[in-house]
Every structure is written in structure tokens, then in C-alpha cells.
Amino acid sequence: MRQTDYSDFICPIKFCSGALALETLPAELRVYNARKPLILFSNQAVAKGLIDPVQHAFNDSEMVCGIYDGVPEQPTLSTIQEISGLYRKNGHDALIAVGSGTVSTVSKVVNIAVSCDSPDLKKRQGDDQIHGPLRPFFAVPEASETGLATNGFARIDSLSFSSRHLIPDYLAIDPRMVQETSAEVIADSAMRAFSVASFAYALPESDYFVDPHAYLAIQTISENLVPVLTHMNDKKQLKDYLVMNDTEKGRLALTMAACLGGFLSFARPVGIANRLGEALSGALSHPSGILAGLLLPLALKVEKTLKGRRPEKLLLAIAGSDIYARTPASERGERALSLIRDLTESLFHLTHGAIPRTLSSLGLSKEMGVDAVSRMTADDPELDPKAALEILDLALLKEDR
């Protein structure tokens, strides 16, 4: 194993995952000397009825909470101003984001607005422009977690922020909050994290801190995604009401892995598969996590040649020690890529074709690819367009099967 000669890492979150995780929120708020939290719910969280379990968790606590239900999917600076105004006017002292997606972004930016002396958010945009800790910020993710809750990025309108102080202080993953019924949403969340973790883990040199987190995310998703999707609509038995069953544990594990993926995306730059997935998501009308999962084997294949990535490392995390030991060293890389393709194939069958198994079947064209790559390079001049185009060429040649 080649160890790196330089490593840096930060993990300031306290995680709590399992039964009654929501009920830990009041006690954890007391640790931060907070007494009056403002709880923000995403539109999706409101539609799924997730307000009730959160309110129930605060019953018999001495905390009077503010509830803002329905953070919009496309928030603007006026949304931030409105929520910051409510926070100040009602004397809140902590923020809790419930749900996934933009609610995390909005909470982070509101936290900047209410914690910093200057109300001008433009002064805080960019990398590490937030000096000192912000007010307490907790997150309660749901099954569609995109990783935004656990990283230190936030982007709203034209302003983008990046700081370790944006990472939440506490994360509660509760079984009541991860009862997602859509297989596509669960698969999107899991495959996004899987791609991020795979790229982090397949780096040429082993990292003391990134590797264990990435390994855990890959292993958790490999072990749980297919069983959860297979049994997600099974009727509950009597004992399932008394003890958490394997599917519920699997859902929790997948949400945890999605959070780890978000965290890794802050610790290391995300791989090209995720970035291409995001760039193509609009044109192909599919979630970026699913597309990233389809692009992952191709991207690892191309980056093995161009950047020395080592897909063979993934085999241990994906397949376990028995298969890893039985596979000759020279074949481990190809075996790992083939298992990733098998995973996407299983998703295709489990969702009766709702999740595609190839990009070419979605109508990906050369023009779409070139357009996506040019947008990516415009955003990030350091990106290598050659690798991106090569990956898309492979996808168009239907070599992703």
C-alpha cells in the first residue's frame, strides 16, 4: 500500500443515527446553550408529513421552537432575508434544517447572515471568508440526502460560500425521517455518494483519514442498496413494530453513507463522474446521482490511464475480503468495475427500467457532451476536458455495458 506523505482532514460533526435520534435534539441544543431554535423544513419534508415527528421530539422539552415550513426549491437572497428577519425578530438562537437539498443551503446562508456582524453576505463569499464559529446549526437529513447537509459549501443566487464553519454541529438520522418510498430517489442519493467515495478511495496514494470514511461509504452502499430497494415495499410484520428490521437499518445506513459522501466531497475534490453527472442532468432529465453512477466505471477506466487511479482498491470495499482474496491482483480493477456495472444493472431491473442502465439509452449525443464539458471547463479552468470527452466517447460507443 502506498501511503501519502501529506494528509489533512476535518470532521467537526457529531452524528447520531438510530431510534429516538430526533429526541436527542433538545439535549444537544442545551449543550450549545441554545433554548429557542428555528426549524426549517423543505417543501418535500412538509409534503411527507415530517413536521409531526420533529414536533413530537420537542414535546416535554422546555424549548419553544419557531417552525418555517416550506423552504422553496429555488431559494433566492430574498428568502434568506425573510428567514434571517424572522430569526432575529423572534429571538432564535439556533437553526435546524430538516430535509435534504436546498433547505441545508438556506440554513447555512441564514446562519452566516445572523451570526456575522456585517449583514452584507457578499463580504463572506468565497473560500474561508467566515472567521470564527457561527450560531449552532443542526441537520436532520431524509432519505433523499444529497450530501449538502454535511459539507461546508453553500451557493445561493450568484454567491457561493465555502467554510468549515458551515458544516453542521450535529446530525440526527432518525428512522422516521428516512421512510422514502421512491426507489429512484434512494438510488440517486446512494449512487451520488458511491461515486464520490469511489473516486476518493481510488486515489493512487492511500490517505489516513479519507480512506476509512470512503471505504465505509462504499461498503455500506454495496451491502444495503439492493436489499433495501428489493424489500422497501414489503408489509411490516408485528415484530417490526417492536424491533427495527433489516430494511429500516439499511435505510438508515444508506442515509449515513449519503452524509459521508457529502462530507468526502468537502474533504477532497469530487470526481469527474459526479461533475459530468451534474452537467448532463438537465439535458438528460435524470438526477445527477444516477448519471454519476452510470459514468463511474467509465470515468475510473479513463482516469486509471490518465491519472493513475487504482480501481482495484475498490474491490475489497465492494465485494468483501473473500472475493478480493480469490481474485488475482491483475484482475481486481476490472472485477471492481464489472461489479459497479452489475449494481447499476440491478437498479435497472429493480425499478423496472425507471433507472437507466446506459447513458446512450437516454439519448446522449456528442453535441450534448461537448456542451456539458465546455460549461464545466468555463466554471473550473483547471478541469481536464480531454478526460471528460474521452469518458463521454466511451459512453456513446456503448462501452458502458
Binding site: 438510530g18 431510534a19 429516538l20 429526541e23 436527542t24 433538545p26 439535549a27 442545551r30 426549524i39 414536533q55 421530539a57 420537542f58 414535546n59 416535554d60 422539552s61 422546555e62 424549548m63 419553544v64 421552537c65 419557531g66 417552525i67 418555517y68 415550513d69 416550506g70 423552504v71 422553496p72 424572522l86 423572534n90
Partner: protein, 176 residues
Amino acid sequence: MAEYQTFRPKRKIFKWLYLYVFMWFTGRAIKIAAKVDAEVKKEFDQIPNGFNVALEVLPYGPAMVVGKNEEGQVLYLGGNVQAQPIHLRMVLHNIENAMKLFTFQESTAISFMRNRLYLDGEIPHAAAFVRVFDAVEVYLLPKIIAKLAIKRYPAWSPIRKFTGRIQIYLRAVLGF
């Protein structure tokens, strides 16, 4: 359209009442167990005289205070933690954690491990108190439930268990 509202938490009265009765009875049972069971008496012998232990639930209680007076007698001192000096506090973070523990869905060891309660005091005294608590649960509960509540069910003789159980139940109810 998003809406802001203030939420004032409600009280969980029935759970609070269950815990109140449970703690009241268990506190009295500990006092009696120290008289009828040699093992429990030995555990209390290690605790200094004038030492009070509180088991409480945040933020509104209920609570149970058990202590030794200066003569070495074990006493149940009621549910008011403010009324006397407390030398060891075992605090459950919230009422749901207390319900998990006192409806025997989790053992004391598992609850500690899952950070459902915290300790303010000396660990050896807390360990002794947990052993006392476990012994009292063996006396009070049927084996099938007690096995869920404690780490390891003891191999006591039936005579010890049943005579102790009858004495503890009777004397705890009658209060002598």
C-alpha cells in the same frame, strides 16, 4: 407558500406519570432490598454514610433520590432533588430515553452505551448503584422481562428470589 409559526411543546403527561410511579415504587423497593438481601446490603456498605444518589429525567423530572443517613440506614428520600445534597446524579437526557430504559426495551448498560443518560459523580459509586438497581429489578420483575432490563440474569436460588420478592413487594407497598 411558506409559513412561520411558533411551536410550544406539549407535556407527555402519561409517560411522566408512569415514570413517577415507577421511580416511587423502585425507590421504596431499594430501601427494602437493602434490608432483605445480603448482596444489596454489601453494595451499600461500600457507599459512605450521608451519601445521596439521584436518578432524574430532564427537564421536568420525575426523579428519585436514595441515600444513606449518618447511621448507615438506606432511605428513599422522595423525588425532590433540590431538598437534599446530591453526591451522585444519574441523569436521563429526556423522557423518551427514560421510557426506553424503564419499559425495559433497553438495559441500563445499553442506555449508557447509547448516551441516553449521563453521570455526575464517582464511577465506582455509580457502578454499585447500577448493581443495586439490577438486583431490585430481578426481585420486582418476572424473569422474561428482567432479562431485557439487566446485563446478565443472576443464578439465584428460587427460595432467595421468591421470598425476597414477596418481602420487597409487601414492605414497599406498606412502607416499613
